[in-house]
């Protein structure tokens, strides 16, 4: 039977619309950003787009605000992801048996994940509020001194990390729970036959078997944490002062508040490189563990 044109070329025709879309809306823009990073373009400046080579790069690298933002991006990411990993794993292991109420907990775990980050940020701002916030009331009930939380340069980053940990730990928990459910029962059975105690089972069997899942989850989470924007913008706008600016917030301000497109593009190139390295990490891991 003769195949028609669509069927003969289905492997090109089917992905084509999606590919065109991604090229036009992602690849071109990314290339354009890259090009802009070699210019001094400032939207408010009448001189237009001038090619200046690496000058914008030098200007940005000399900028203390930029260096601090890079440091904060990593601080936020590692701070949040380490806690999310430990806490998420612990909770998943604690919940790893059948009991009444498991369904409710699973449902509750989903809530932070689907809640609008901007709104979450605002709710936490009410918690953190120095004069009416419930957290300071808790502190004072425990006879502890009040805390400025997001209004204090010393505590703003940990306070933001806590919100991220609250919102995304359930993600790790759910992924680990799914991973646990998928483990084959054989190694556990033979371990019990061989007389292994629960701790040995946990550290010698469960955790090593979970490692690939957990690592992939943590890297995916890191990629998102590197790009954190909504919560920080909603809660502090990068302040007080510049104390909670990460790369994403800073690049956003350079683009849409100062209109220094060239320098903003340089920052985006850096963010791009950092995220790409993590992305490569995901792919390497996936091939290594044949995920």
């Amino acid at each position: 039977m003769k195949k028609d044109f669509v069927e003969r070329n289905i492997k090109y025709i089917f992905p084509l619309p999606a590919l065109i879309f991604v090229v036009v809306l992602m690849v071109f823009p990314v290339c354009y950003t890259f090009y802009l990073s070699f210019t001094d373009w400032t939207l408010t400046n009448a001189s237009g787009i001038n090619f200046v080579g690496l000058e914008s790069y030098f200007n940005v690298i000399k900028e203390p605000r930029f260096l601090a933002a890079i440091g904060r991006t990593f601080y936020f990411t590692f701070g949040a992801v380490i806690f999310e990993g430990l806490l998420g794993l612990t909770i998943a292991l604690l919940l790893n048996k059948n009991f009444t109420g498991k369904g409710i907990i699973k449902g509750a775990l989903l809530l932070p994940l689907v809640a609008t980050p901007v709104a979450i940020g605002i709710v936490w701002n009410l918690f953190y509020d120095p004069t009416i916030g419930i957290l300071n009331w808790v502190l004072s009930s425990l006879n502890l001194p009040p805390n400025g939380f997001v209004t204090d340069t010393a505590t703003v980053m940990p306070s933001l990390i806590l919100v991220d940990v609250w919102q995304w730990t359930p993600m790790i928990t759910l992924i680990v729970m799914a991973g646990l459910a998928g483990l084959s029962s054989e190694p556990f059975e033979s371990a019990i036959v061989d007389g292994a105690n629960p701790r040995q089972v946990l550290f010698r069997i469960t955790l090593p078997m979970l490692m690939p899942t957990l690592l992939t989850a943590l890297i995916l989470r890191s990629i998102d944490a590197l790009k954190t924007y909504d919560i920080i913008y909603a809660m502090t706008g990068g302040g007080p002062g510049y104390a909670s600016e990460n790369l994403n917030i800073l690049a956003f301000k350079y683009s849409f508040q100062y209109f220094r497109m060239g320098q903003s593009a340089v920052m985006l190139v850096f963010l791009f490189i950092i995220v790409s390295l993590f992305t490569l990490g995901v792919m390497k891991l996936r091939t290594r563990f044949e995920l």
């Binding site: 009991f99 989903l110 609008t116 009410l126 759910l174």
Partner: protein, 273 residues
């Protein structure tokens, strides 16, 4: 003694569940409580757990602030972005699964991984020149870039799991492959499509940054409207919390209805399978 140990175990277990559960849901409870408090009750010290509820904040949000306008915008943008993503994403995911087009998969998934702001600045420039700022077109296009990778990410393993024999049998009977995709594969993949649709809807619904730049009064979506409540001189916490409740409710209802699918979608990719 056996019984008492059983009871003790049960109490410990319940306690453990509460220790996990309360921190997760307390912010939601406090948000809802604050949304039905008067300003006096909200700024009271110590914080009040018992108070006379009021609906005045919701009145403010929905009647004075024209929240329905932003709600409509959010729905329009999310629905069109998800629909269009399915239309171009499902065939792509099918092709990736059937013809093992790994490179195409990676290419589309990169959009999920790169920071949105690295497209946003060029979009801002181009959309301004095309007079598409504050248009649904620009917003929907930007939100497709959120939804499309999710569709491909969720669906290609799904299509991969549909046995090829089913299609081959149909093709022997003379059904072209594109028709067998629509008539056989898609109906068999309904759970996956539900997962992809739910997740992309929620992610589009929650998106802040794209709308923040690309929309103004006409097409402004809910997250921006909620954020703008903060910009008043004195924060009207009750109204802000009512707005937060209003924006989260649809996403949470959808999540509860499709709970199983949302879990699958969120854990897809990290878990082998």
């Amino acid at each position: 003694m056996v019984i008492s140990r059983k009871i003790r175990h049960k109490i410990l277990h319940t306690l453990l569940i509460l220790i996990i559960l309360i921190p997760i849901i307390f912010p939601f409870i406090w948000m809802v409580m604050s949304s039905i408090k008067t300003q006096v009750d909200i700024i009271a010290w110590p914080p009040r757990f018992i108070f006379k509820p009021t609906l005045i904040n919701f009145e403010k949000v929905f009647i004075e602030q024209n929240f329905f306008h932003y709600l409509k915008n959010s729905v329009i943008v999310a629905v069109f972005a998800v629909l269009l993503s399915l239309i171009i994403g499902l065939p792509a995911a099918y092709s990736i699964a059937r013809f093992k087009q790994k490179k195409i998969a990676v290419f589309i998934l990169v959009a999920r991984l790169l920071p949105g702001i690295s497209f946003l600045m060029p979009w801002y420039i181009v959309f301004s020149r095309l007079h598409l700022m504050d248009s649904y077109t620009a917003l929907i296009l930007s939100h497709i870039l959120i939804a499309l990778p999710l569709v491909v990410w969720v669906m290609s393993p799904y299509f991969d799991a549909v046995p090829i024999e089913l299609e081959e049998a149909a093709m022997v009977d003379g059904l072209p492959q594109q028709k067998s995709f629509i008539m056989i594969v898609l109906p068999l993949s309904t759970p996956g499509i539900v997962t992809a649709t739910t997740l992309s809807f929620i992610f589009s619904w929650n998106n802040f940054m794209f709308s923040q730049v690309l929309s103004q009064q006409k097409t402004r979506t809910l997250p921006i409207a909620v954020y703008n409540f903060l910009s008043y001189v004195e924060v009207d916490w009750g109204a802000v919390m009512a707005a937060a409740v209003a924006i989260m409710t649809p996403a949470i209802i959808i999540t509860m209805i499709f709970q199983k699918y949302v879990v699958q979608g969120l854990t897809a990719g990290a878990v082998k399978g």
